[in-house]
Symmetry: D2
Subunit: 319 residues, 4 copies
């Protein structure tokens, strides 16, 4: 290959820029040119792209978001538009594609590969929910944003002796809630993977109060229920008053953490290696500290599993 392209797709995550930078520089290191496609698959269909040289990815490693923009593109599910995009790429001499995004983005990449245009997937999402890789790019930064927010909330919780419910991201995956809850010393954590027991949560709060503790922090992943619904439940069942904080979009942004930058760099570089070896339809990931590649299809057909030993630990430590 002499020329490849890179795009970001789905929700943005901190470290995507580090991955873009690595794709460009690793490819350049091997004498291969890189085109940056703007606005994800939408730009792919329309062949909207620019050459990314070494300088163009300077000064982005520390930036949140994605330099290449992202978008949702429902059109892209149709074969016709996929073929159109491939055509645009071929016209421009582009022979392969690195897709940085979540599992939805991986499906598109698999479709393109099947149609003869080799793609490699790089896991970019804060949710840490892509099967086959232990971590996704952006997860670590999101965790740190969440715990810094909870630390702030705890200042008020402690000063006023109030209990707070903090709603964090995670529709199907409880990783953010679980890790952040453990890191912030939350009294209770509710994740989609485990049925919650409202009576146990109430018991924990009451037991804390009985020994003089006057504030609690409860973390709930949005996939379980909303923070305000949980507040209502606690009020109705046990007359416990709580305040609710929904962290929302601040969880997606910010300068990437050291881990996310290193992970972005390693996985972006690996994706280029795999692509240059002519192996499309692969996803890259990290497993036992080694960068690996595996069948792209696994990433959206299998199911991500959160490390539930952390869940058990969090219960033991928040007695």
């Amino acid at each position: 290959m002499k020329k490849i392209a890179v795009l970001t797709s789905g929700g943005d995550s901190p470290g995507m820029n580090a991955a873009i930078r690595a794709v460009v520089r690793k490819a350049n290191f091997h004498g291969v040119e890189v085109m940056g496609i703007n606005h994800g698959y939408e730009g792919f269909i329309e062949g909207r792209m620019d050459l990314l040289d070494l300088g163009s990815v300077g000064g982005i490693i520390q930036r949140g978001g994605t330099k290449l923009f992202s978008s949702r593109c429902p059109q892209f599910k149709e074969d016709q538009f996929q073929y159109q995009g491939i055509e645009k790429m071929k016209e421009a001499g582009v022979e392969g594609l690195v897709v940085i995004g979540g599992d939805g983005s991986y499906r598109g990449a698999m479709e393109l590969t099947k149609k003869g245009f080799p793609c490699v997937g790089v896991p970019g999402t804060i949710d840490n929910d892509i099967p086959g890789t232990e971590y996704t790019i952006g997860f670590d930064t999101a965790l740190n944003t969440v715990i810094e927010s909870i630390d702030k909330i705890r200042d008020t919780a402690t000063s006023h002796e109030n209990s707070f419910i903090v709603e964090v991201m995670g529709r199907d995956a409880g990783d953010i809630a679980l890790w952040a809850g453990l890191a912030a010393g939350a009294e209770s954590i509710l994740i989609p993977e485990e049925a919650y027991d409202i009576d146990e949560i109430i018991t924990r709060i009451k037991r804390g109060e009985a020994r003089g503790k006057k504030h609690s922090i409860i973390i709930v992943a949005e996939g379980v229920m909303s923070g305000s619904d949980l507040a209502k439940l606690l009020k109705e069942k046990a007359n416990i008053t709580t305040r609710v904080s929904v962290l929302g979009h601040i969880q997606r942004g910010g300068s990437p953490s050291a881990r996310d930058r290193v992970l972005g760099g390693r996985l972006g570089a690996k994706a280029v290696e795999v692509l240059l070896e002519g192996r499309g339809g692969r996803a890259v990931g990290i497993k036992n500290h080694q960068v690996i590649d595996y069948d792209l299809e696994e990433a959206f057909t299998k199911k991500h599993k959160a490390d539930l030993s952390l869940y058990t630990l969090s219960k033991e430590l928040s007695i």
Copy 2:
């Protein structure tokens, strides 16, 4: 005076601990002992307090929240409980009180002073809404928390070319919205002090779009309307889709900024000076960089005015 007390009351704010530290050390410097009353006026009524020596306020200058806890105390409005608290103080040899809090807390301080127990008020609130002082302790930290959050949201807004509404604190005072909006380069700012013109906001968004700008940040103070109500309004009137982020309680906490620590130190020390001069019923504040004291009653009878020149400027700079 040989012994005074200090309490924090109302919503906690970053820098309250710096003020407590200054009260203790300045008083100690003059050979006067300081009792720390826990849980605001509730603790005052019950005489719940401990001696604060030099060491007990070590290592707190950088902590958010308040070491002395805070609480709302409806009982305290009744004369009977005020007299009870004064009695407790006298029994313990306490001759005066420094009250760190917002304007609600100042009312109580005035009542006590009128009943013969001299109090001095120190402005501790993130809202910057206390008349007679240009800044309140905690405002600067809250501003920085808000702009860091908006910077994160902007990463996503830019990457996805979405518009965001960010709801910030401020029921009656638009200072947080105004300063943070200007500092974060928000496209529109809605504050309680100025009637908003929904058509103008829509025009700004459309004008930005027309020249290629694909995202906007709109800041709304909670006192104007909720972020989600504003989102509905924009949808109904102009079919503009926005995402909403409610910053909520994270605005109150966190390690205080340099300004808030210095302000806490200066005002806490000044409060001791005023009290030791036997001048109760005063509030301390900052005006033209000088620490001042003024009639405590002014602080809750007059009205705080936001600096509306910033509002005009923000409109000019976000064309």
Copy 3:
């Protein structure tokens, strides 16, 4: 005027970008075009500049450093090169210049004004040492960087019961040392404006030890002496062992604080106003919360005075 230019000169400071943005947008608001000169006076001499439109200053308000680069330019002291630059400007239709920088940069601006090319100075430096304005753009961010660093150092100081000397910037002005020292609760502060008394410093450390305090933080402005020289002095005179941390260049960078962004916005806008009124040879500044303008010459002929009431206060609070 129909077209003006803007440059940054001298050491960079956080908030310069906010000021550049304000210059461009305020001028555009008045229908005036702005050219951005790259690399300070060096670029001025060579007429190296680009049109800055509204979009070109989007997304920079939160960035440290300066988008326009900066440089020292000894050549610029010579009349010949000043005339050459003015000629370049005239050729390009540029009728006036906003100079963002320190007092050294102001001298050049005055020279150009005297030669018929009107300039207005905007105070951009972390040192807070420009006479005529109470604050300079970048000072507040530098303070916050310094206190965050000291907070980290204090974690180790407390854990190991060691004393630390922290050397901060400030050759002639002690503002950073003074404010940061007060904000961080430093036990001693050494500034160029006040003669230090090594015996007093030693007494403070020993007095703290005597009452059980086992760590101290001493802040020294680089203009007084180096941290390592102070460490030697303490060792020789009183056998006190200290560790030294030189904060160095991290003090200049980073995303600007809310205050610095607002200050940059206000002063940049004011500079345009003054320039469009045809009033060259002026500096803009902030005094009693009002943006003001004053004779540019004052800014480098008078002497900045630190607020020494803070020095007295810091001594009282660190007893």
Copy 4:
């Protein structure tokens, strides 16, 4: 066992408090009491300790440093003092000890175990240099502190087009330099594990300059040489002028990152498990995301190896 103790020893690291909290809570969960020994082995010898109950470790998970203080204790190398400490423990009914610290601290723990007092080691050091565990508690926070500092320095480097040398911690282990260098996009990284080639560094700088890049960041681990020595070398050999920043002690402190808090929690809890099983002379660690335990002696007889694949990658990405 009914009662155990915990101490921290050697250089403090962020996350030690999270580990202490986990030790206490996990032990309490199993009905076992925990004594907190102050000042490391010095306190052990003298039996200086307090009961740590659930409440006493509340509000420390987010604090840098160590609540239990740390110290170097040369005395402790002597058998006599080791026996004395064991005697003190037995008198107080303490049956085992968790030692949180670096490899030096592990030696002491092994000695005690051999003398019949079972100890388990928890890796607490920012250097990431303990064999047998992939990560040590504090490393991740230190990395993030370093890259935030470099991001600030890069603001100035970019604005002024200067090259900077940043000296980071790491006498024998290059992990901080390596990870931080990769995460910050450093142009060159010097670590103790790999011989540096000054000519290659010079070539990199010159090559960057040739293609228009005017600033470089070079990271050097203190174990290779000092930043100022490297600056001299570059000046002498190639007339390249650089500025030097020595990050120093700020690398040790600060609120721990999410990873370090989770790691502290997991390893602290594991240490209690191992100790309660009566298995002294073990170290706990993390390997392939599993908490493990292994022979304590390995931790100071084997040699830690940095992941040199990151070194290769950094060279490829900074072409």
